[in-house]
Symmetry: C2
Subunit: 209 residues, 2 copies
């Protein structure tokens, strides 16, 4: 599978003391939930070693987008089942730009903050999806303020992105991170706990661990 | 893409005060490194918007497996470029077993410890590969001791797994986690920092953060 490396950014707004995340509809997550919601075979013992049926590439129908409605006439999950909370992130697909410059662009496009490249601090890098893509992801930390908020963010709707900017107050961060009813990536959990270990003393604020 | 959910396990050996990881050759990681090592186009400015060439599915040749050798006659990276350090992990592909039972089997098969299901503590769950698979991963913590080490681990060589069990001493854990020259998954970094925040006080041992 051809892949690009990627960058992600933990954004902390020092004006409101909130983390800035993005909330996105992810088709792959939706299909995973769809698969999970299918009726189980009647004789699971005999199915144990059988290959699972291929995922049907069906898209959610209209009138299923209501976040609050859990009612579906079939076993088709609501559109909200495909939504995840994630760090601002993007692919490294511009060979002339540094990782920091790409991260800067993503923060601007997705979250609306015009953060200088020099304010991006690398947290670390690691391998993502080792069984599938094996690409390298680099995580940054960026402190922003309301003063450098120059737009609403939201990504590139013309490229099919459905991104909503979400604020998580610092004092609720660790509860948010470990609340399994909130679908999120490991990057969110890891970066919040990293902040707690590395940055919280600076802000002298409890992150309710 | 059809996927399974997965489990991963942070294993801590209380006899030797080491974390137990697995070291694996990952074809996807190797191909990602191969792609990265290809000569760059001479006119990158004109290539910026072009689609990258598809990854060639070539396997590493013989005599490239030496960990210490960085010398290659072509731009083909050494086999060691495809190795990553990971948590013990496995797919949820047995519908009759609980997540804990699957995690228990993986710890036994990959690392050789016969840990009771009741000793598995859930850390949290999250979405992995939201852009590709969207599957759900559940992370556990297991304390083991030399007494329940009943085998060498190593996974299932007959299924193509190339797994080596690796011990990381507790006092080196955070240096290991943030050493970017050691290829690893975010699960390793996150779980080490989780241990530092949650379990270190119990062991009254510094993890050199």
């Amino acid at each position: 599978m051809q892949t690009h490396d990627s960058v992600s950014v933990l954004i902390f707004n020092t004006t409101s003391h909130c983390f800035i995340l993005v909330k996105q509809f992810r088709p792959a997550v939706y299909m995973s939930e769809w698969e999970r919601s299918k009726p189980k075979p009647l004789q699971p013992a005999e199915e144990e070693s059988a290959e699972p049926a291929p995922t049907e590439a069906k898209v959610p129908e209209e009138n299923q987008a209501g976040d609050s409605s859990e009612e579906t006439s079939s076993h088709q999950p609501p559109a909200s089942a495909g939504v995840t909370y994630e760090l601002c992130a993007g692919l490294v697909d511009k060979p002339n730009l540094s990782l920091e410059e790409i991260a800067r662009q993503e923060v601007l496009e997705e979250c609306g903050y015009d953060v200088p490249v020099t304010k991006l601090r690398k947290i670390t890098s690691y391998r993502s999806g080792v069984g599938v893509t094996g690409s390298k992801q680099t995580m940054f930390y960026a402190e922003v303020s309301d003063e450098i908020c120059v737009g609403e963010g939201g990504g590139k709707p013309q490229e099919g992105e459905l991104i909503e900017v979400v604020k998580v107050p610092l004092h609720e961060a660790m509860t948010f991170a470990f609340d399994e009813s909130i679908p999120k990536t490991m990057g969110v959990i890891f970066s919040f706990i990293w902040f707690h270990s590395n940055m919280s003393p600076k802000y002298k604020i409890s992150t309710n661990v």
